[in-house]
């Protein structure tokens, strides 16, 4: 049962392995704090919509399942959006339109389609939670790397020495693509090594 949770962390990491949810991964990770917030918001949506869909999986007719899933997801995204706007206005402003765009994060719909719509509640919670944590750690790492190299800070605190010239490119779109490409290559090479090839 633990396997269901752990597989999302590394072996089937939604971003590195399955290339799902790329838009928010690349767009908001200009700092570690943005990465954490986006990761947690997405985790909340994937877990809570997973719970609802798993509970009602026998009642949803298969022909209209995609629209039904989408509406359930959109409902939870609306909740997250309102909570962020009310409680964390700074983060809400930073993330901007990428909060409502969680609706079309293919990671979320993909999990409902592949797992929660055909598995009991406890397994669905573990699976979506694993995917959420896997997504969050990667976004935090990517945001951290880009923040350290691009601004010389981490979580807003200065970490690089005074003479360090920030690499602005890391905060621009090109830096996001290249950093994620290098992280994915590292992921591949670790996997290749552990397979002994």
């Amino acid at each position: 049962m633990l396997k269901v949770f752990v597989k999302g962390l590394w072996k089937e990491n939604p971003v590195l392995m399955q290339l799902l949810g790329m838009c928010p991964t690349l767009a908001v990770t200009t700092s570690a704090i943005n990465g954490v917030s986006m990761g947690l918001a997405t985790s909340f949506v994937v877990v809570s919509s997973g719970i609802v869909i798993s509970l009602f999986r026998k009642l949803i007719p298969p022909q209209v399942r995609i629209p039904v899933f989408t509406i359930i997801i959109a409902t939870f995204v609306t909740i997250v959006d309102m909570v962020l706007k009310a409680g964390f206005p700074d983060i809400s402003r930073e993330l901007g339109p990428y909060v409502p765009l969680i609706v079309v994060n293919c990671l979320i719909l993909g999990r409902q389609e592949a797992f929660t719509s055909r598995n009991p509640l406890h397994l669905s919670v573990l699976d979506t939670l694993g995917m959420g944590v896997g997504f969050t750690w990667l976004l935090t790492l990517l945001g951290g790397v880009r923040e350290i190299l691009g601004a010389g800070t981490l979580m807003g605190a200065q970490v690089m020495p005074g003479g360090f010239e920030p690499l602005i490119i890391m905060l621009l779109p090109a830096g996001a693509f290249i950093t994620l490409g290098i992280l994915a290559a590292l992921y591949n090479s670790v996997n290749l090594k552990s397979e002994g090839r």
Binding site: L101, V103, A174
Partner: protein, 196 residues
């Protein structure tokens, strides 16, 4: 320059949806391995985007908007995604009935358009920037054209990449991501064209 032209150029080149806003990355990475399918995907997406702009604009201003509509902001995302999903369904049926060759050419890419975040993103930007009806149409079309441009360029590069000895760890997704990074770098050259 007229505002309409500025909006168009900005959506196609300067603030390209894929390379600047990171919208539509999934089809951009998934469908760009062959030139033909990427052209089909681009055209279908452009059409759906333009139609989405035309339909969601009146829905927002007469139904959702707190100022001019019935004040239903909490329904914004649900309504938008429903419009896009039904539009894609409708376009699919329409093309299948009346344009058989085009339907065969696009194949499975049509239903995939629903989960293209560039479309929902376009509708959200349209609202945030308070475009009028005509501007929204041009914006939707420009966003689609920009998506097509980039995905076709990418497909051209990826067809060449097949003949290049890529290091083993970089095979597959990593090399595509790094290539996209360089493409984004190239598109940064357009950034001075229009002052925001």
């Amino acid at each position: 320059m007229s505002p309409l032209f500025t909006i168009f150029i900005s959506a196609v080149l300067v603030n390209n949806f894929v390379l600047y806003y990171f919208l539509g990355i999934c089809p951009f990475l998934g469908v760009s391995s062959r030139l033909e399918s990427s052209v089909g995907m681009g055209m279908a997406t452009t059409f759906v985007m333009t139609m989405t702009a035309l339909i969601t604009w009146p829905l927002y201003y007469y139904l959702i908007s707190p100022e001019t509509g019935l004040n239903l902001p909490f329904l914004e995302y649900v309504i938008f995604i429903l419009v896009i999903a039904s539009l894609v369904q409708f376009v699919e049926m329409f093309i299948r009935k009346f344009f058989q060759p085009l339907y065969r050419a696009l194949g499975i890419y049509l239903p995939l358009i629903t989960t293209n975040c560039a479309i929902l993103g376009m509708a959200l930007f349209m609202v945030i920037r308070e475009y009028n009806y005509l501007e929204s149409m041009v914006f939707g079309f420009g966003a689609g054209a920009g998506f097509t441009l980039v995905i076709v360029i990418m497909a051209g590069i990826r067809e060449e990449l097949e003949w290049v000895p890529v290091p083993r760890a970089f095979k597959g997704a990593p090399v595509v991501l790094v290539t996209a990074g360089f493409l984004a770098l190239a598109f940064m050259g357009f950034s001075g064209m229009i002052s925001p």
